[in-house]
């Protein structure tokens, strides 16, 4: 009985989702995931071949265009700060007391040995503006029903030509995402979990990034506290704030 019900329910869900424009789904996802600004503290757990490292940080972000991150621990990284303004990125290192702009091949390097590269942090446009989307199926992920959305770039200047997203049908939160190269090769996979309702929105508190071309078990990104729509002074998003 159960084996018959699941495909029937999935088909019904797919029909209703197709009816519901994929764009509409993404807009609802954006409403959950985006905010005017946010302040959050997080732990980044980098799983290496031999051991794992945990790096904690505090981030101030306005939309997707401005962000300021200060690393809090371990002692080696403490005081390192990162500032992103539109498509420019600077890093301040307290040990050398110098600020450097990350550019060119340096953008391709990983952030503190994680599966995230600096250039992954640089794309800041809304998904609906740069991708055509289509609901192509349904699939349960971590016990929750999801729509599978295939996204194909509708503009040429986009980092990933194709993306695949698994969106929670009830909470409108992505639970998995895959990023593909132009050639179709899978480059990155992101798994989102521990979805909590915060200030009226559903928000994933844990994200696992995996660079599929790189060895290792990926990088866990756990948000320990998050506050939306706070008042953040403008000076935070200036190069001068890096040395303070």
């Amino acid at each position: 009985m159960k084996t018959i019900l699941i495909p029937i329910l999935s088909t019904c869900l797919l029909i209703s989702a197709t009816a519901q424009d994929a764009n509409e789904i993404l807009k609802r996802v954006e409403r959950n995931m985006s905010s005017d600004n946010r302040i959050f503290e997080s732990s980044m757990i980098i799983h290496g071949n031999r051991a794992s490292r945990t790096i904690t940080s505090r981030t101030y972000a306005v939309g997707d265009k401005q962000s300021f991150t200060e690393y809090l621990s371990p002692a080696r990284e403490q005081g390192t700060k990162m500032l992103k303004l539109e498509n420019q990125l600077w890093i301040y290192s307290p040990s050398t007391d110098r600020t450097i702009q990350i550019s060119g091949h340096m953008l391709r390097q990983s952030v503190m040995g994680s599966d995230l590269s600096y250039e992954d942090m640089m794309d800041d446009r809304k998904i609906t503006e740069i991708y055509d989307s289509e609901v192509t199926g349904t699939e349960p992920v971590d016990g929750r029903n999801t729509w599978i959305l295939d996204l194909t770039a509708k503009v040429t200047d986009v980092a990933y030509h194709k993306r695949k997203m698994w969106i929670d049908t009830e909470r409108y939160v992505p639970l998995r995402e895959e990023l593909f190269a132009k050639s179709g090769q899978l480059l990155k996979r992101t798994s989102l979990s521990e979805v909590k309702q915060i200030e009226g929105r559903w928000f994933p508190m844990k994200v696992i990034y995996k660079d599929m071309l790189k060895q290792g078990d990926g990088t866990e990104f756990v948000i320990t506290s998050v506050k939306f729509n706070q008042s953040i002074p403008d000076y935070i998003f200036s190069k001068a704030a890096l040395k303070q």
Binding site: H105, R108, S110, T156, Y160, H161, A181, K182, Q185, L213
Partner: protein
């Protein structure tokens, strides 16, 4: 003068071991200075020849935005190959290069690379570009340098994934197949460089018919002023070698100075001792009608003759040694690949006639000055006191 030389020769031979110790020390300076200068000259020649053969040809035209020391410029450093060069390119006398930044994933590790598109039929560079099998479709044929292969822990026939962003910034990835590994002493050609067919890179980047650098074969080719491209003659492209050699030569001058100082100290001491011990002889010369200047000249010639003896001794054992070095070369005890300069692990000294003559003249001049310096005391001597052997 002839008599002075004859007397000086007799005196030096008569002094025996003292003379030969001085001559041996001075001859070491001769041989070491000539050898070191030869090594520098050999490095200069080798670096420039290797750069010409592997990297810069007879000179280059760079896209006006291209600056190898500024990664910000790389993504915009390309434009269509100017029509002015079509003839030269067709004749094979000019080769376009396209340069793109990328990432390579050897055994799941991540490394930044420069992907260089090169014509597989080129004949300007010694790169084994003909090994880029363009008929291959399932992977991109590529050649890499031996240092790069060592870093990647990869060999011929290995497949490695590379990732790049096209001209619009979109990520793309594909496998390369290493079809050949070459050995070169120019790090800029080897470290972090992956060579693939030019048309393949142009299509991967969406930059059909475009290039970053145009290299011509003949350094005598007339310079064409092309808007958007900057001409870089060979002298400018090898300027860093000249600067490095100039810097190293300055550093080595200290060593030459120390070697000469040791030799000159010995000659100076010998001269002072001679003047002190040979006062009766000096008095006799004056009594026989020598002017004081002639006596000073005699002692100066005697001192300078050390340099002549040293040159002859150096020729006796130095010539075979220097000739053997020029053939066998000098292998540096440390890994030269980490120097970041066009420097081979084994350097072959090159000695020019100018180098040998200038070194001999320099040592002769310094020895003469050092010999003359203590001899000036003779001019102040009282001849009668000197004849009596009284210390003055």
């Amino acid at each position: 003068m002839k008599l002075a030389i004859k007397l000086a020769f007799r005196n030096l031979i008569g002094a025996g071991l003292r003379t030969w110790l001085n001559v041996i020390v001075l001859s070491f300076s001769f041989v070491i200075i000539i050898w070191l200068k030869g090594v520098m000259s050999g490095w200069d020649q080798q670096a420039k020849t290797d750069m010409t053969n592997w990297e810069i040809g007879g000179g280059q035209y760079w896209h006006e935005s291209y600056d190898p020391y500024d990664p910000f410029t790389f993504s915009d450093s390309h434009s269509p190959i100017p029509g002015e060069f079509t003839g030269e390119i067709e004749k094979g006398d000019m080769e376009p290069y396209l340069i793109a930044q990328g990432t390579i994933y050897p055994q799941g590790r991540i490394q930044s690379i420069m992907i260089k598109g090169i014509n597989p039929n080129q004949s300007i560079f010694m790169l084994p570009a003909h090994k880029l099998d363009t008929s291959m479709t399932d992977a991109i044929p590529s050649i890499i340098g031996s240092l790069m292969a060592k870093n990647l822990k990869a060999g011929i026939g290995d497949r490695v994934t590379i990732q790049w962003r096209d001209n619009q910034g979109t990520f793309d990835a594909a496998e390369i197949l290493i079809t050949d590994i070459f050995t070169v002493s120019v790090p800029a050609v080897d470290q972090g460089q992956v060579y693939i067919p030019l048309d393949r890179l142009q299509s991967m980047m969406g930059l059909e018919g475009e290039a970053t650098i145009l290299t011509y074969r003949n350094s005598e080719s007339p310079v064409v002023d092309v808007p958007g491209w900057t001409h870089k003659p060979k002298e400018i492209l090898t300027a860093q070698v000249d600067e490095m050699i100039k810097m190293k030569t300055t550093g080595q001058s200290v060593l030459y100075a120390v070697l000469l100082l040791l030799a000159m100290l010995a000659i100076f001491d010998t001269q002072v001792l001679s003047i002190f011990r040979r006062q009766k002889e000096i008095g006799t010369y004056v009594a026989l009608g020598y002017t004081r200047r002639q006596v000073v000249g005699l002692f100066t010639v005697e001192g300078a003759m050390y340099a002549v003896f040293a040159a002859l001794l150096s020729a006796a054992y130095g010539l075979p040694f220097l000739a053997w070095q020029a053939k066998a070369g000098w292998t540096m005890p440390v890994d030269a690949s980490d120097f970041g300069m066009a420097i081979a692990q084994t350097l072959y000294p090159v000695y020019s006639a100018g180098l040998v003559v200038s070194t001999v003249l320099l040592v002769l001049l310094v020895t003469t000055v050092v010999s003359y310096w203590p001899s000036r005391r003779i001019a102040k001597m009282n001849p009668t006191e000197a004849l009596r052997g009284k210390i003055q």
